[in-house]
């Protein structure tokens, strides 16, 4: 079997297929289960400084080729999450804590108070007021938040970017200037669904974010642009549902990938992807390293 180990964003990963933030990441048990099912690493639900119940339901709605969600960042606060992280770690894979705040200060306070193998800064959630992409759309904000967390943390810091922008590379460059060890792209696309029988927006929050197969071509493009323009690694996420999608994302330049919505099909997705990826590398006699960013070298 081809080796799938990879060093990415300051972490040594058994394989490059991670669990995405906010997916089965509310408890240590579910994170550990993803690790045991074969994820190369797991990202927690985004954690803030105070408990949040999130938006009213419906919080998700399945649409054409994807999922809309507006969870509203429910979480028990980082203070109540350390023990979950310890449980998650029993899966034997790196546990990356996704964190969010409304200012550089709030971000760095959380980073100081929490122990994890790395931090992922949620500067990209498209449906929580004062958080996520409301900060993350501004390069200066991305840079200052990243810098503040880097100063506070002694583990790698990844920055998760929003695709709801004219030029995601500007945001990636800002993260790099701030000292990020990797960027993660993409979070969901701003989107909405309306009930045609009554005219009600379906999500409790009216708006939400689109994930799943629908957004993969957008994610591939973002990863390609980022990989071409950055020196730090890019972690690709968005619509990955198969080993083929994973190969496409790595060809675009991703050092590792994250899987979210496809977990609808169950935890088996990790093994499905890693086995498929290993077989592909074998058939092609390529290493992961050689595969990475190949699309940028073709012309």
């Amino acid at each position: 079997m081809s080796s799938l180990t990879v060093h990415a964003g300051g972490l040594d990963l058994q394989n490059p297929v991670l669990l995405a933030a906010g997916i089965l990441g509310t408890t240590g048990a579910s994170l550990r289960r993803a690790a045991l099912a074969g994820a190369g690493g797991v990202v927690t639900k985004s954690l803030g400084s105070v408990p949040r119940e999130g938006h009213h339901g419906p919080t998700v709605v399945a649409v054409e080729c994807g999922l809309l969600n507006a969870m509203g960042l429910p979480n028990p606060s980082y203070r109540n999450f350390q023990e979950e992280i310890e449980i998650a770690r029993k899966g034997g894979r790196p546990v990356i804590a996704s964190i969010f705040g409304s200012s550089a200060r709030e971000f760095s306070q959380i980073a100081r108070g929490l122990k994890a193998d790395a931090f992922e800064l949620n500067l990209s959630c498209p449906h929580a007021e004062k958080y996520g992409s409301e900060l993350g759309r501004y390069p200066e904000m991305v840079e200052s938040v990243t810098g503040a967390v880097k100063a506070a943390a002694d583990v790698p810091v990844w920055v998760k970017l929003t695709p709801n922008t004219a030029d995601i590379l500007e945001l990636g460059l800002a993260a790099q200037r701030g000292g990020a060890d990797a960027v993660v792209a993409i979070n969901t696309l701003k989107a909405m669904a309306i009930d045609i029988e009554t005219g009600y927006p379906i999500l409790g929050n009216r708006f939400g974010g689109l994930s799943g197969r629908a957004i993969k071509p957008v994610a591939v493009r973002c990863v390609y642009d980022l990989a071409a323009g950055l020196d730090i690694p890019v972690i690709g996420v968005g619509g990955i549902t198969s080993w083929e999608d994973t190969v496409e994302m790595i060809l675009a330049g991703a050092s590792a990938v994250q899987v979210g919505t496809a977990l609808q099909r169950g935890y088996g997705i990790f093994e499905e992807i890693t086995v498929g990826l290993a077989r592909y590398l074998e058939r092609k006699s390529l290493t992961l390293e050689e595969l990475r960013g190949l699309a940028g070298r073709r012309s």
């Binding site: 906010g22 997916i23 089965l24 990441g25 509310t26 408890t27 240590g28 048990a29 579910s30 994170l31 550990r32 289960r33 993803a34 639900k45 408990p51 949040r52 119940e53 999130g54 009213h56 339901g57 419906p58 919080t59 998700v60 709605v61 399945a62 649409v63 999922l67 969600n69 969870m71 429910p74 979480n75 028990p76 606060s77 109540n80 449980i87 669904a193 009930d195 029988e197 009554t198 009600y200 379906i202 409790g204 979210g260 919505t261 977990l263 609808q264 169950g266």
Partner: protein, 256 residues
Amino acid sequence: MRPINCIIQEVRSLAPQIRTFQLERDLDPGPGQYVMVWIRGVDEVPMSFSGPDTITVQSVGEATKALFKLGAGSSIGLRGPLGNGFVLRGKRILLIGGGVGTAPLAFLGEQASKRGMEVTSLLGFRSREDIIFQSRFEALGDTIITTDDGSAGIMGRAAAGLKELNLFEYDQIYICGPEVMMWDIISRTREHSSKTQACINRYFKCAEGICGSCCLDPDGTRVCVEGPVIMADRLLESEFGRYRRGPDGSKGPCRG
């Protein structure tokens, strides 16, 4: 799947805070399966089917109160049927229900009876006026009722009725009710736990198996898709009966 629009055909009041909503559509659910009920402009909450085209709801908070304001002709959005549902096994079965948790069991019992199974029921309620579905269960077979205050049937919790029964006589046991009551029974009947199917509640947000809100410790079982029916022997090794998580994911006590 987007929520399906569904007209409420009839509303029947069963007890002071419990009503059955007759739906215009038969979504072909199995007993133990649930549906996410969208009360537009308010919230979306999980409800078990109490029949092929009914849900039976206890008013406890914002969403259920809003639902109680809807009458025949109003419409709701439905996502479902969801979850695994009960599996019928054997010839003689025992149903153990508490409060509004009797709803999916009445539905189950009727299917079992149609298949020629012998059905016995043990049902616990707070008081005489809270009793629901009595005639549905009685039509199926022997029915023991308990009330906390003794106003009807045996006085005490549902567990008080256990001594009337020999659990070895049943091929399969089905249980649904408040967590404390279910825990009480399951932990008293450990030797039967591998033949006991429990329909449990957790806080459901996505009902798609991806948000993690409903996951059980310590193995991360996603109750919304791998449940809500879970074998009691697995529950005995879980958080069940000890704590449950609320909407923000933090642990809390097991009321209700």
